[in-house]
Symmetry: C2
Subunit: 233 residues, 2 copies
DNA sequence: TTAGCTGAGTGACTACAATCACATAGTAGC
DNA sequence: GCTACTATGTGATTGTAGTCACTCAGCTAA
């Protein structure tokens, strides 16, 4: 399918580029659609594209030697993934799969590399982005160190709450919340354990489910206390 | 203490820089020595230096909310740490502590930033380095997903084995191996558990301790099998 | 409507790693 | 040498999360 420069400029990281550059990139890029559970990027393969997510939700996942799934991060619309090879020409370290049906734009890595040479702004953005990834991985790692399981779940939930709700301890809504299974693989837990924690949170009126695509966080303050360990579940 | 350009050029990442640049950097840098357990970098602080390790061994560590220590990575001589702020001016995400007495060179981040503008080679190196860090964090994360504890320990041990010993399944030696405690915090285990796994490995003649600073891996093939799960302990 | 699928809730049981509480061995400093 | 400290080894006990085996709810596609 045809990619227009306008489509590309919908992505915050590409927006600063000059129109001519966007036009060139657009010509070389392609739209790819994925069904739920589709494999967007394959681990160990030198993917020659950076994947920009237009619609849907992706997840970076890895597998342990014994086949267990490990959740790494989520990709939200406007964001991108598969950019690691931009820096070291190495293979994609993890799988990226579609959690929902997704629309993406694949931009060839080599073209993007040329663009960064002329546009330091993009290079800088990519660097910041990679740094953010390291910070996220580090935070997630220290989350896994928590010996208390419900605290781990609450911390993860807390990270999904919007920034301003976190700041002002307001009640808020999480759109398209991850399934229990998805949370479980992020936190090294079994699905059942996550389910049991959610049960407690719900009976305590801290969170409330609303259909499959909404999760209300009614009592942000309590969730925060559980997340930072000042209160036990 | 005075830093000479020669000292700086001992670091692989700085070696490619022109002598004049090295001389300038050397003037602005300083040697800092740390005792065992000394804090090299503090989490949450905007450290204005990149730390190059000359002698000794450092470890990046974080702490969970409840105060538990979490091991993230090791820094070996010739390598550096604290470079994340180069990309996004953000604070240092984790602590770095000295595992042994250590000699380091602190290079001001701002000077290094200026140098990268004139020397794309350094910029590229930094990017590769950050990418390597992401890969390492990802690998470590999937290690934590292993449900079998001895496999986890063996995997970690396997990562400490030198590359060519890994390739050819030769017996090899790990210099200054991490203590059981250091391994434990990297793998989310208790010290005792690590100790018990080592006991089994030793009675099976797979590894052998030689004083405090050497660990012989006598049976690399067995270690590999244990690491990849084709054999159980 | 029905079938089929995925996600979620729940009880019973169990394995296993953490914890505690020591003992012992190295090493470093004086 | 002696002392102090850190690293390591080991048993007993216990808590707790994983696993298994279900049921149930909600969605969607024939």
């Amino acid at each position: 399918m045809q990619v227009t420069p306008e489509l590309l400029s919908a992505f915050p990281s590409l927006k600063p580029l000059p129109p001519a550059t966007l036009a060139r990139l657009a010509q070389e890029s392609e739209v790819r659609k994925f069904a739920r559970r589709g494999v967007v990027m394959t681990a160990g393969v030198r993917e020659e594209f950076v994947c920009f997510l237009f619609e849907g939700r992706l997840q970076g996942v890895d597998f342990t030697i014994d086949g267990r799934e490990v959740g790494l991060y989520f990709v939200e619309p406007g964001d991108f993934c598969g950019e690691l090879g931009m820096f070291d020409h190495g293979p994609q370290p993890e799988f990226v799969i579609a959690l929902t049906a997704a629309v993406t734009v694949f931009v060839p890595m080599e073209s993007l590399r040329l663009v960064t040479m002329e546009n330091p702004v993009l290079l800088k953005l990519l660097g910041q982005r990679l740094a953010a990834r390291v910070r996220q991985l580090t935070r997630q790692r220290s989350l896994l160190g928590l010996p208390n399981i419900s605290q781990r779940v609450c911390c993860q939930l807390w990270l999904l709450v919007s920034d301003d709700a976190r700041q002002h301890l307001q009640s808020s809504v999480i759109n398209n919340p991850p399934t229990h299974m998805e949370i479980a693989i992020m936190l090294n837990l079994s699905r059942e354990t996550v389910s049991r924690v959610f049960q407690i949170l719900q009976t305590r009126n801290i969170v409330r489910r609303d259909g499959t695509s909404l999760l209300h966080v009614s009592d942000s303050a309590a969730l925060k206390r559980l997340a930072d360990g000042s209160e036990e579940l």
